[in-house]
Symmetry: C2
């Protein structure tokens, strides 16, 4: 396929690298000649527009995307035009105002859910889209052959294609991405003036909740303003529940029911989040192993696990406070938990929560 | 030491297991004869109170702790009395109302920061306190020899002892533990009615923010009511910032400054959270490696890292959506990042973000 990419920042340049690696003929265009040349030098494609590209990908900043999409539909009258913007409804409305009639049938909005803290072509990577969701927002008017082209391109980057209505997409990213970002930032913000002796009690719970609070303010301001309505509506619902919790804490002893409800509703929502690889939620068995913090110990652990023929579904290191000792949680399918525990205990590992060890003690 | 433990739930029974393993003489007492016998059967100690224990540990539910502490100070007139409750100020006030004069000098409040989702003696483990902070709230009236006994006992469980004023302790756990718990629950709660196709876009950010939303409502209701004032005060500050964000989202384009500020304040707070092992914040270099999701691959990876003599500071598996391929983030001290990348690339690993690989491509 001949793919023309307009905008050679992180996403555009990464897409060029990924598609070039798959043998596609990629051309590049950017308002900045320097950015355009850098992307080409990195191997993302050739500078300049071909006469008849099959697909034009608009990978500009969101605030100019609608105008560039409309121009591309005019400039390349046979091409399928797509984009990579992270908010879809507002963009589609803006494009509709700028183009007329059947031209719109050639536009298929996309959102590859990939990104980095860094930006620009210099941060591009051919694997950026690997194993990430690539949302395609098509409708009944979308010609099947054009949709097929976009799907083929997305899959050639290694992404997993998902089809969603633009409104559902925007509501989804508000809940699963934009609101968690804001709330993580708000929790971290409360630590700004806490004395260091208070913060020294931080554990893994706080670290998990605030990890994404390290994100870039500039990028997130664009994303949040682009999806303001959906994000606001989720935040308002969250604030109502927050007000109930604050009210319950003021009430004193009689309010335990309200507090229990708030935590229980969180349990309910938590249980709906799918497991690894987008599969439905799975309850894995977790085996916790004590690991001395010295070079080679993790290697030994994972070698021993590998020797047992056990596939690790997930793992996590729990940070210890003040001691050179870590706890590693290894998630496995429940059927092999006992086998793993017996195997690791026999190899001398400490498994404090081991069901087998407890039976032995009793 | 002769240690008498009153209350044989998760914490009391775990403490008994830990201290028995260190050769201390542990006795157990619980209002439930079944719970008391179970803890003894598991090896946590002997049923019944000795005549002259050195230390009495009150490990009852928080709502009866003050009464039991006061009774223990009377029943064991030579013993040092301590407890494990997770909120200290209110408990200390309640104990002060119940006991008189120098009796209070024998009480030293503690909070070992350990716990599990499960409860009861059946979930006890001798390593529960290993590498966890154990907060001791003593003051200038605390006799040095009694304080020394409590420190020795705490250290014998493998915990890391910290000395904090009760008010500072309560303010600290509100910020680093109680508020993150509530907010995580509130974010997860917003997913209760989201269609599964929306939730399928969930990524690692959401998973991190909502991990602790799986916690037990009953336990957390007790903790939150016990620290209601401190938790409320942090939540009110957080709500003020949340209101600013919601207001900014209503304002539209002119509001980007407010949104950028909210994310930037989160950056600032995030940067104050200490690194691994309670050390001051350190910025580790993160190397991301693509790992096929087949048995033995993690073993191979960590063996290769170990063979390079590299110490892993932290690691994390990023869940892929719809594909059998994982991304493993390995954190190392910045000085050895390049060495690790060269080593792993030479062993055939894919490192999409490798600075070295990019130089090679350019």
């Amino acid at each position: 396929m001949r793919v023309h990419i307009i905008g050679t920042g992180l996403l555009g340049a990464s897409l060029g690298l990924a598609l070039s690696a798959q043998g596609h003929q990629v051309s590049l265009e950017d308002t900045s000649p320097t950015a355009q040349q850098l992307a080409a030098d990195l191997g993302a494609g050739q500078v300049g527009a071909p006469e008849h590209p099959d697909i034009v990908v608009v990978a500009t900043p969101p605030d100019v995307a609608a105008r560039v999409i409309a121009a591309a539909l005019g400039d390349f009258p046979n091409a399928t035009v797509t984009d990579v913007a992270s908010v879809k409804t507002r963009l589609l409305e803006a494009v509709r105002e700028l183009v007329t009639g059947t031209q719109l049938d050639r536009y298929i909005g996309c959102h590859p859910m990939a990104g980095r803290e860094k930006s620009g072509a210099i941060a591009a990577q051919s694997d950026l889209f690997t194993a990430r969701p690539w949302v395609i927002c098509s409708d009944e008017d979308t010609p099947a052959d054009r949709l097929g082209e976009v799907i083929a391109m997305a899959e050639d980057t290694g992404a997993s294609v998902l089809h969603l209505d633009p409104r559902i997409h925007d509501a989804a990213v508000a809940k699963v991405s934009h609101v968690p970002q804001i709330v993580s930032s708000l929790v971290a913000s409360q630590l700004r003036h806490a004395p260091l002796e208070e913060i020294s009690l931080a554990g893994q719970g706080l670290r998990d909740v605030t990890r994404i609070a390290a994100s870039d303010p500039g990028l997130w301001t664009q994303i949040l303003t682009g999806n303001a309505e959906e994000v606001r509506s989720v935040l308002v619902a969250l604030r109502t529940e927050l007000d109930e919790v604050i009210g319950a804490l003021e009430l004193g002893p009689g309010s335990t029911g309200l507090l229990a409800k708030a935590i229980a509703l969180g349990n309910e929502g938590h249980d709906r989040i799918p497991g690894k690889h987008g599969q439905p939620p799975t309850t894995y068995a977790v085996v916790t192993i004590l690991v001395p913090d010295t070079p080679g110990m993790l290697a030994r652990l994972f070698k021993d696990i590998g020797d047992l023929g056990v596939n690790v579904e997930d793992f996590r290191m729990d940070h210890a406070s003040g001691r050179k000792l870590g706890m590693v949680d290894v998630s496995v399918v429940p059927a092999i938990q006992q086998e793993l525990e017996i195997g690791l205990l026999s190899k001398g590992w400490q498994i404090p929560e081991s069901a087998i060890e407890k039976e032995g003690t009793a």
